[in-house]
């Protein structure tokens, strides 16, 4: 639902004038309203993080345990048994560098896709910018991700791989992962409101997407003529970026990076437009 709000300062207190009518703008996002609701975003993220580890025995240790175990298994199967090439990089470091951004991405998508339906009681009972629900699920796995980075840095230290200035570019790649997840999460959460099929499809989607991303194998394994097509997956660019920044691998293929950027912008804008279009009917359909 759109609302055109003009804030007028009035005796120190801001008084909003609000017009509610049938909305028509496609990408008409009320940024000042979002800013006003920033504390709710904080609260929703806080709720998600607190609930996630309530009544668990080892609590937040799961954040480190999950990638650690995944790394060991992937190293055993793909590194040792399948003898997967890793561009000369020690396989555990090679795989963990990809598993962490991927883990963030898949969590962000899974959680945000379920965010609107999971908070149906909020959507039907109180107003706030609906976008905060998927957004909060894009933000909250970042905390897990930041913690698991400690594991990665520990491993790099153990392997004697030095950190360089390139590590400072990491936030950029994280941002691309976030915004891509945001676009995909907006589309899936919106579709989920009407079609609960989404809930069934997501595990497959994540699995297939994982094999289409250079996680267990290097991009160099992809035939040259398919690189552009391959780069349409923004996560390919993100993971290549991570390996470049942390493992001193060659700079990411500019074709792959360029395609990734175009696609993630498209997904993000498309997701926003679809979300805004459907948003007005959420409470009636959910």
């Amino acid at each position: 639902m759109e609302s055109h709000a003009q804030s007028e300062a009035q005796t120190g207190q801001s008084r909003r004038k609000l017009i509610i009518e049938r909305p028509n703008g496609l990408l008409d996002i009320d940024w000042s309203e979002l800013w006003e609701y920033r504390e709710l975003l904080y609260t929703l993220v806080e709720r998600e993080i607190k609930i996630r580890y309530k009544q668990t025995a080892i609590g937040a240790s799961w954040v480190l345990l999950q990638p650690l175990i995944a790394m060991l298994i992937f190293t055993a199967i793909f590194g040792r048994m399948a003898k997967m090439p890793s561009d000369g990089i020690w396989y555990p470091a090679f795989i963990l560098t990809a598993l962490l951004p991927w883990g963030y991405f898949s969590q962000a998508i899974t959680r945000s896709a379920a965010s609107l339906v999971g908070s149906a009681n909020l959507v039907t009972k109180v107003y706030f910018p609906r976008i905060l629900l998927p957004l909060s699920m894009i933000v909250s796995p970042l905390i897990d991700f930041a913690l698991s980075l400690l594991l990665l840095f520990g491993l790099l230290l153990y392997a004697g791989i030095p950190l360089t200035w390139k590590v400072l570019t990491l936030p950029l790649f994280v941002l691309v992962a976030m915004l891509t997840a945001m676009g995909v999460g907006l589309i899936l959460s919106t579709a989920n409101v009407k079609y609960r099929d989404v809930g069934h499809a997501i595990p497959f989607l994540i699995q297939i997407w994982m094999f289409l991303s250079p996680i267990v194998y290097p991009v160099s394994l992809v035939p040259e003529q398919y690189r552009l097509l391959y780069g349409l997956n923004p996560m390919a660019g993100v993971i290549e970026g991570f390996r470049w920044a942390l493992l001193g691998k060659a700079a990411p293929d500019p074709v792959v990076m360029g395609a990734s950027i175009v696609v993630f912008l498209g997904v993000l804008i498309g997701g926003l437009a679809y979300f805004k279009k459907m948003e007005r009917d959420f409470a009636d359909v959910i």
Binding site: R15, L18, P23, K54, T124, V126, Y127, A283
Partner: protein, 426 residues
Amino acid sequence: MREIAVQVDNLSKMYRIGARKQRYVTLRERIAAKVTSLFGCQEVAGATNTMWALKDVSFGVKQGEVVGIIGRNGAGKSTLLKLLSRITAPTHGRIEINGRVSSLLEVGTGFSAELTGRENVYLNGTILGMKRAEVTRKFDEIVAFAGVEQFIDTPVKRYSSGMYLRLAFAVAAHLQPEILIVDEVLAVGDADFQKKCLGKMEGVADQGRTIFFVSHNMHAITRLCKRVIYLEDGQLRLDGSPHDVVKTYLHSGLGTMAIREWLDPVKAPKSDVARLWAVRVKAEDGQCTDNIDIRKPVGIEIEYEVLKPGCKFRGAIDVCNDEGVLLFIALEQDPEWRNRVRPPGRYRSTAWIPGNYLAEGTMIVNVAIDTVEPYEWQFKVRQAVAFHVTDTTDGDSARGDYAGEFPGLVRPLLKWDTLFGADSGR
């Protein structure tokens, strides 16, 4: 002159009935529907039955007005609240709002069972539109209002339902919006707490805030509101002073709820031994009415015809409240007809429920006819008639001068003996 707080113009909201019935459609159904429509089957168009939950409603509310919204179930009250609080968008028309709005359509929206009372106060407060600093400032007051000080760091899933509701309401009660939208939330908690909440609401109203208040409790409506809007079938039926509007509302069911007649023998409830002609609700003076003063007796009249000779008959009624709780069953007990075979023909039996016996609210009457010796159940008509019992503020009913919520299935006026100095008298 006071500024307009809310201006509603030609507000309409349409629902697709199909979409409302099914909780959600699957992609497969959608695709299947598309494919069938491609091949020229027009079934899809038939599926879009529409219904206007609200149609061309217009009104203006000035700052500081306390407006009650009444109407029967499905009249559009909830839809209006949802539109005012921006939960759903109108199909046509517009609303202009001046000021910060908070809506309370449910107590405890967003409460998470796993979180502690403290965490939920922050969560619920910010969801309802408070700033965190504001919650911090009012925190002690909220907890004291709810009376859950010792349990504030316990997960709310360990709370009793009473504690949970009190805490949830306490957060809501401390909202300070310029415009407050409240749906029937006062119907929670024990009587003491409800009284406290009603008091808090009055306090809010006194501070010059604009309030929209939906309730089925006519007493709370007349007490809190200075103006009442009556919705019927999605349209604004009446807008005016609480006294007039509530009176019209209570009388609007006359002839439909208080009387049921079956002139057509095909449609009448019957068996081969008896047939029902009519059921009526009567006041003391014999007039049919569906609005009964709590102090006065009310008569339920059953008119039936005995078709077959040689049977012993018994009419029966049972009375339920509007929550469907069975209050009592009454079997026809006229000594004159006890154990007597009834000759065929028309009968009219009236059961008189004494005054000062039923509680306030809507009463629903089911009617049945039995034959006895051997006992045989002939037919039963569910929800044959209904009537409203209204309590008074004159002070001579069971509630005396107490004006708050007054729960209980029945409301008998008991004989009280109060002795002074009873201790020394022994």
